[in-house]
Amino acid sequence: MMGDNLISINRKNSEKMLNAQNSIATGLKHRMPREGPVEVSHTIAYKRALFELGQYEKNIDDGLSRINMAEGALTSGTEILQRIRELGVQGANGIYTAGDRAKIATEIDELLRELVTIANTKFKGKALFGGTDTLEDPFRVKTAFSKAAGRDVIDTVEYYGDLGKQKREIAQGDTLAVNVPGNELFWAENSSLFSSVDARNYVVSADSKVLINGVPVVFKAGDNIEMIVNRINNAPVPVRASVNRMNGGIILETSSARDIWVQDVEGSSVMQDIGVVSGPNPPKNLSPTARFFGGTLFDMVIRLRDSLYMNDSEDTGSRALGGMDLAIENILKYRTDLGAKSSRLQIVKSRITQDKTSIEDILSKNEDVDITEAVTKLKMLEVAHRAALGVTARVIQPTLLDFLR
């Protein structure tokens, strides 16, 4: 019986020692959920949090590199615009001849090509300024022969991207757009659209939804033109609507330099009915009967170039250079905007780094073995085990048999 007891005590000791050795070897307090159900479930949660933060960090890094790339492109874009402006100022000077102006204009045309290349900048092979339409060049160029220049020059630069925002999740449920679509960035003038369709007797026939610059606006059945204007003005869109007193057509005007994008969705035909658009989906769906004003940055450069070709120094000095100022101003606005986004991302990133450190600390406290403690414990178990074995050896030896002949 004594022997059996010693066996069971020795077995228990060995088991404890094995556990102690395992935790020293793996460095983990718990190897199975049963060894600490609550701690293990905390470990899972902390690890998950670390993983999430790591992902947010990656998202931020991706966003930052896009923004840096965009900032770089805009910096060189601004330099070129400044150069074009200087050339424009030079060309407005009365002492130059028509030939001189044509040379300046030709240089501006070359710089314009460079500007278009910048507007089509790629990030990892994908267009940076095309909204979410990233597979193709957002700005497409049409050239035409110019008599004044005596060669092919850029005739139009048109935007084929979209308004899409590329969002990055930087904290749970918190997203930040890390791109600026080209039809906001490379725009110079406020846009306005005058419909030629008299809408004074128009009534919306069924509940309809339209997207104006990407923001949904809902019209109810029975809305008249006043209600339509009201609903547009009450929605968070960067477009103001009003009714033209001359012909009863609707007028849409942007409040800052950007394009007007109108899209009839979910089967709506309201915008088509009141002569704003001719087809359902942008780009290039604005109604041909409506009059559209507003120009891109490229339009401004082209206007300056053409006024130089036409040797119209007065126009160059006033309207064309004014357009350049608008273009530069708009680019600068978005450079500031991107800079602010970049610094916000940096702040969030450094907060994430801090959070990660503190979670790693808690995680380590939760799951890592305190080696000093574990080794001391193992040593104590070893001593106890030795003692038990010694006693076993001693107890088993003497029996009466030893003394009987």
Binding site: P33, R34, I44, K47, E52, Q55, K58, G131, R168, S268
Partner: protein
């Protein structure tokens, strides 16, 4: 007058008695290490003295003894202690077995480690974020597909492992029933032999020991009760019915239960009634098989089906790089015979009900708006939830989710109300609303009141549902969850981009462009969707709770096991101190009896000398 040979006769008795005592000592020493053996002791008694009261009584002083005899050979055993050991033993075996099975389940979950479902899940959600960052890139798409594949493989694997543990338990149950039957047979046979020798006045010590050993084994398997009161009939009961009654015994049998996936019930062979188990290893086996492991599998299934449905619901709304839309990310495998959820519940070959897993309302809502409606929602088992004008939608939903009904409701990221089954059967049983909350306000049902109620007990009930729905998935979603074929074959089909509906048919038909990762971001957000799975809010939390619960039950089983084995160990030590053979003691006895034997022999030779003198020398 005393006989001349009285002395020799007396010496002979003494020789015989001591020889018997030495033999018993030898038996004890031989069986010192035999399991279940109890030390035996010889009781000596003096032989009745020659003394016959009567007229012919010898007129001698005193009585002259007639020597010694062996009265009986007893075993040293404390039957009260024995009963306590039996009682503790079946508790011990219950927890020992339970601890082992839960341990195996813990091994399946493989937590905490870097190769568990949770870690794959982390990578899965992250891969969607990466895709949102680079929606045009094939690499990001490949990674979503790989982690989607790995996640489904992990779920398949966990299901398989848990299922095989369940199958192993079933096999153990079969083996234990065979063993119990054999034990019952052996005990009954022993009873017959014991009764025979008892009625002859013997002490069948070794047979008793053997029976006690068998009973102890039996006590480990089931909660037995022993009846020792009747001398003629030794009784063993399990749960109030006798397994052994003297030499008569009953047998147990197994019957496969189709309602329990073909796992067996344990029945009495004679009348087919169910064996009433309270503890012991057999009870642990049934609990582990039908509660612990079943719940584990149900939980993995619930996790799989919710994950599948939530990811698919968002995925269908998005657009792939190849402009395909409306595709599932995970394969869906309905259990129902048709797309409107008709199902054959009673397995008679004809559809008899409607099985829907989830219904999503058609209207867009804000959870914190005041609903301004009055009414009562009736759910399964007649559970009712009343709502009033001043309640907000989220207040009503909290009430529904806390009502113990088998459905859970939440508002998804798009603002639609989702009603889904939260029972292992994976179908909604009853939905009824006396007011307009479920019908008009949230667009789940077409009409309010009993006429518009959804009930699973009739076919064609899907026509009463107004929103879109998912029919009941096939049994054990975790066993078949896999990537949808389109996604598996063509990563361009992974719907990273969002889109819009241009023609008003409720289906998005125009992609927002290849650079839009909005839908991928929404899928990555599914992990935070408060989708109310079981008692947890999100899918991740649900799985985490499963691990913690398993660990807690494992820890309980292990500590119970340790405590009880300590108690049993102590009791067994106590028994050993009573019944165990101590070699030293036996040797002392041996020396004692040997001396007694030698003394008796010396006595006989002295009497012989006396007779020799008397017979041969007196001539």
């Amino acid at each position: 007058m005393i006989s001349t040979f009285t002395g020799i006769e007396m010496g002979k008795k003494s020789l015989i008695a001591h020889q018997a005592a030495i033999n018993v000592t030898g038996h004890n020493v031989s069986n010192a290490e035999t399991e279940g053996y109890s030390r035996q002791m010889v009781t000596f008694q003096f032989f009745d003295p020659l003394y016959i009261p009567g007229l012919t009584r010898e007129n001698t002083p005193g009585q002259i003894g007639q020597g010694v005899q062996v009265e009986k050979i007893m075993r040293a055993r404390d039957m009260l202690l024995e009963d306590r050991i039996l009682a503790e033993k079946n508790g011990l075996e219950y927890w020992k077995s339970m601890s082992g099975w839960v341990y195996q389940a813990e091994l399946v979950h493989n937590e905490p480690s870097d190769n568990s479902i949770m870690s794959v899940l982390d990578k899965f959600w992250s891969s969607w974020q990466e895709l949102a960052n680079n929606p045009e890139e094939m690499g990001a798409r490949e990674s979503v597909r790989e982690y989607g594949w790995a996640l489904s493989r992990h779920l398949n694997h966990n299901f398989k492992s848990l299922k095989s543990i369940r199958n192993n338990i079933e096999k153990t149950v079969e083996a234990r029933v065979v063993e119990i039957n054999s034990l019952a047979r052996q005990i009954a046979k022993l009873n017959a032999r014991i009764l025979r020798s008892e009625s002859a006045g013997d002490n069948p010590n070794d047979l008793w020991d053997r029976r006690d050993l068998l009973i102890e084994k039996l006590a480990g398997y089931a909660n037995i009760h022993i009846g020792r009161n009747d001398q003629d009939e030794f009784l063993v009961y399990i749960g109030g019915k006798h397994l052994v009654q003297g030499s008569h015994y009953e047998q147990l049998t197994l019957l496969k239960n189709p309602d329990n996936e073909g796992y067996s019930d344990i029945l009495w062979e004679t009348d087919g009634s169910r064996l009433d188990l309270r503890s012991g290893e057999l009870k642990a086996l049934l609990d582990a098989r039908d509660i612990e492991l079943k719940n584990q599998i149900d939980a993995v299934d619930t996790f799989a089906v919710n994950l599948m449905d939530m990811v698919n619901s968002v995925h269908r709304e998005g657009f792939g790089l190849n402009l395909r839309t409306g595709l599932n990310f995970f394969k869906e495998k309905p259990a129902t015979v048709n797309a409107v959820g008709d199902y054959d519940f009673n397995r008679d070959g004809f559809t008899d009900g409607t099985a829907l897993f989830r219904i999503t309302g058609s209207t867009v809502l804000k959870p914190n708006d005041v609903i301004g409606l009055n009414g009562t929602i009736t759910l399964n088992k007649g559970i009712t939830v009343a709502y009033g004008e001043s309640d907000t939608l989220s207040e009503v939903l909290t009430r529904v989710n806390n009502s113990n009904a088998d459905v859970k409701m939440y508002v998804n990221d798009d603002g639609h109300l989702v009603v889904k089954s939260d029972n292992p059967g994976m179908h909604i049983t009853h939905l009824e609303d006396s007011g307009d909350l479920l019908a008009g306000y949230t667009g789940v049902l077409k009409a309010s009141g009993a006429v518009g109620a959804f009930d699973f007990g009739q076919t064609g009930m899907a026509t009463r549902v107004s929103g879109n729905y998912l029919v009941m998935p096939d049994l054990h979603p975790s066993s078949w969850i896999a990537l949808d074929d389109h996604v598996a074959n063509e990563v361009e089909s992974i719907a990273a981009s969002s889109g819009i509906d241009t023609d008003g048919d409720g289906i998005k038909d125009l992609s927002n462009g290849a650079g839009s990762g909005e839908n991928a971001l929404k899928i990555a957000g599914v992990r935070f969707q408060k989708a109310m799975i079981g008692k947890s809010e999100t899918a991740d939390e649900f799985y985490q709770a499963l691990i913690a619960g398993t660990g807690l039950r494992g820890a309980t089983a292990e500590s119970e096991n340790k405590n009880r084995s300590l108690v049993v160990e102590n009791l067994e030590n106590l028994r050993k101190s009573i019944s165990g053979v101590n070699i030293d003691e036996e040797l002392v006895n041996l020396v004692k009896f040997q001396h007694g034997y030698a003394a008796a022999a010396r006595f006989i030779s002295k009497v012989d000398e006396m007779l020799d003198l008397l017979i041969n020398r007196m001539l």
